[in-house]
């Protein structure tokens, strides 16, 4: 997957200026291929991206390599990694045959799909409702964004207190309304814990979808909407046939970003429940963390990470495709 390099006027200008030099160089080194020559001609351009790439390489490429290596080893606890022994794919088979793996995978699916879909729908609907100007719109928008800005740690504690089994406000309201005899225990209950955490996650995430979709809504041409109105299209028809098709790219990007963020979330389940009770709220990330830093099973945790990596690469492929869709549109516009 090597997207063709687009050359713009800038590039051309540079090339013409240095033609003489490049010509001389080519005569000196006849074996050089076109790509290498191009890289050489643009050598100064790399200086701009070098700092970014250097930091990335050190903190990203090396860890990825190391994780893959570690996933094939049996590791002693305490990170005495000189004593590791090669065991081939044993870590992987151990994971795929364990009960917990399927439980955690199921939780992760519910968590990711539930959070992503509901956050997106709520965020989109809020963006639509906020699209028309009214008094106090700016204030309302600012208030709605706050949960996204505050720390997930703070959010977890706030909601932990709200869900508290003895003094929680939701329980008190339910009892007050006569809907329950005593305050229900939301997060110590195997069947309610995951939905309860998803509510917290959505609380924190729908503002992101809202901002993205508000930005997207501004790009919908007003003339089209007015033309549709003149032609007698109802509000719903205008939304479905004009607004929505215009927002397809933004929607895809937003949902992918949400899905990735949810798939990778850690703080809310970790602080609110630590994965319990009996793994009911463990998702992949919290499980991996516990395997690595709780039980010190570095090899197994690394194998989990590699599997996670493969899944994310697949998602990443679609992410890049959606983004290059944007780029293409820009190019043709």
């Amino acid at each position: 997957m090597a997207p063709p390099v687009r050359s713009d006027e800038q590039g051309h200008a540079t090339v013409t200026i240095v033609t003489g030099k490049a010509e001389a160089r080519r005569r000196l080194q006849p074996g050089r291929s076109g790509t290498l020559r191009k890289i050489w001609e643009h050598r100064a351009d790399y200086a701009y991206v070098l700092p970014a790439i250097a930091v990335m390489l050190m903190v990203i490429a090396y860890p990825i390599y190391y994780t893959i290596e570690l996933s094939f080893f049996k590791t002693p606890p305490g990170l005495q990694l000189r004593d590791k022994t090669f065991i081939g794919f044993d870590n992987y088979t151990a994971i795929l045959t364990s009960q917990v793996f399927w439980k955690v995978t199921w939780n992760t699916l519910i968590w990711t799909l539930g959070s992503t879909f509901i956050s997106f729908v709520l965020g989109f609907a809020t963006a639509l409702a906020l699209h028309r100007d009214f008094i106090g719109r700016g204030v309302l928008r600012a208030i709605l964004i706050i949960p996204w800005v505050i720390s997930a740690v703070a959010a977890s504690y706030i909601w932990k207190w709200i869900y508290h089994s003895d003094f929680g406000i939701i329980g008190a309201v339910l009892v007050g309304l006569g809907l329950a005899d005593r305050p229900p225990n939301f997060i110590d209950n195997v069947s309610t814990v995951l939905p309860s955490l998803i509510v917290v996650n959505i609380w924190r995430e729908f503002p992101f979808a809202m901002i993205m979709m508000m930005a997207g809504l501004q790009t919908v041409p007003d003339q089209l909407l007015r033309a549709a109105k003149v032609d007698g299209a109802s509000a719903w028809q205008r939304f479905w046939h004009v607004t929505f098709p215009h927002l397809r790219n933004v929607s895809v990007v937003t949902m992918l970003l949400l899905a990735v963020a949810n798939f990778n979330s850690f703080i809310i389940p970790w602080i609110m429940t630590g994965g319990g009770p009996s793994n009911a709220s463990h998702i992949w990330i919290t499980h991996i963390y516990e395997l690595a830093f709780g039980r010190q099973r570095w090899g197994v945790a690394s194998a989990y990470s590699v599997l996670l990596f493969l899944i994310l690469m697949t998602l990443g492929y679609f992410y890049v495709r959606a983004l290059s869709g944007n780029e293409r549109n820009e190019g043709s516009a």
Binding site: V59, L144, Y289, A292
Partner: protein
């Protein structure tokens, strides 16, 4: 005002009813979302001004009988051990976030500019490689980085955090800024260069001032990201005097979990800097998202 004009221009009552239906649905929905968003935060504030005893009543006191700022006083009192810890955590967070923000801008600005302007081989590949970083969870990098930081001797230092935060903030920063540079006409720079400026001078004198809103947005994003980060700080730091707020608060209250007013007050104060920053500068941020991410 526009409503009146539109209503007047529209003759048919039936259609007005239908449009009003959607508008009312929107209003009701907004009220619902406002309650969903605001009530938890209001409850946090109300709890934070209760005494420990008042917080653990059933049924709860909807408004405290004796509101008190004791929790805040305790957290901000440098004489008190709790206050000392809290203020140190606060300072640590501020330091780490500020340094991360400055470094992110220094690294992201030239990279974004290059991705926007130059067409060197591998440009698209590198750009998407940078973006792909966003895809991967902290946990994948945690074990190797843990080892790397030990090798570099950065365990239990703020350097370890700054280095890692830099990489997780960079992709979006570069992406946002690239959108800004894409929208600045190349002709402006070309004119400057015809007038004798070098490429670097043209960049500093023409492009930088025009992209200030983008840089501000990038800085906010980096700051908020670093301020709220938890998992690396939780893993890399173990000494009490190094902790940042998100981790510190947890250590701090796991000892006496019943102090919910204190916990809520701490959560509130932890949120204040980022919320204030965001509210002041939000229009830059929203605009950056519009220009960088959406408007293509």
């Amino acid at each position: 005002m526009s409503t009146i004009a539109e209503t007047a221009s529209r003759g048919q009552t039936r259609r007005r009813m239908r449009v009003d239906g959607w508008r009312w649905a929107g209003r009701i929905f907004l009220v619902f979302m406002l309650l969903y968003t605001a009530l938890p935060m209001i409850w946090m504030l109300i709890t934070s001004i209760k005494s420990g005893f008042a917080a653990t009543q059933f049924p709860p006191q909807w408004w405290p009988d004796e509101p008190t700022l004791a929790s805040y006083q305790k957290l901000l009192d440098p004489q008190n051990s709790v206050g000392q810890d809290f203020l140190r955590f606060f300072w640590n967070s501020l330091f780490v976030s500020t340094v991360t923000t400055i470094l992110s801008v220094i690294v992201a600005v030239p990279a974004a500019y290059a991705f926007s302007r130059f067409s060197f081989p591998g440009r698209n590949f590198l750009f998407f490689a940078v973006l792909l970083r966003n895809m991967f969870p902290a946990v994948i990098f945690l074990v190797p980085l843990f080892i790397l930081m030990r090798v570099l001797g950065l365990m239990n230092t703020h350097g370890s955090l700054i280095l890692t935060y830099l990489t997780f903030g960079l992709p979006l920063a570069i992406w946002l800024l690239k959108g800004f540079y894409d929208n600045i006409p190349v002709q402006l720079e070309q004119a400057a260069r015809i007038d004798g400026a070098t490429r670097f001078q043209a960049f500093i004198m023409i492009v930088m001032p025009l992209s200030t809103p983008g840089i501000i947005a990038t800085a906010i994003y980096s700051f908020i990201g670093a301020w709220n980060e938890y998992i690396y700080a939780y893993t890399f730091l173990s000494k009490n005097d190094q902790l940042t707020l998100p981790v510190g608060i947890q250590r701090f209250f796991s000892e006496n979990t019943t102090d919910f007013p204190g916990l809520m007050a701490a959560s509130f104060m932890m949120s204040v800097p980022v919320v204030v920053l965001f509210l002041i500068l939000q229009r830059y941020f929203v605009r950056a998202l519009t220009e960088g991410a959406v408007k293509h």
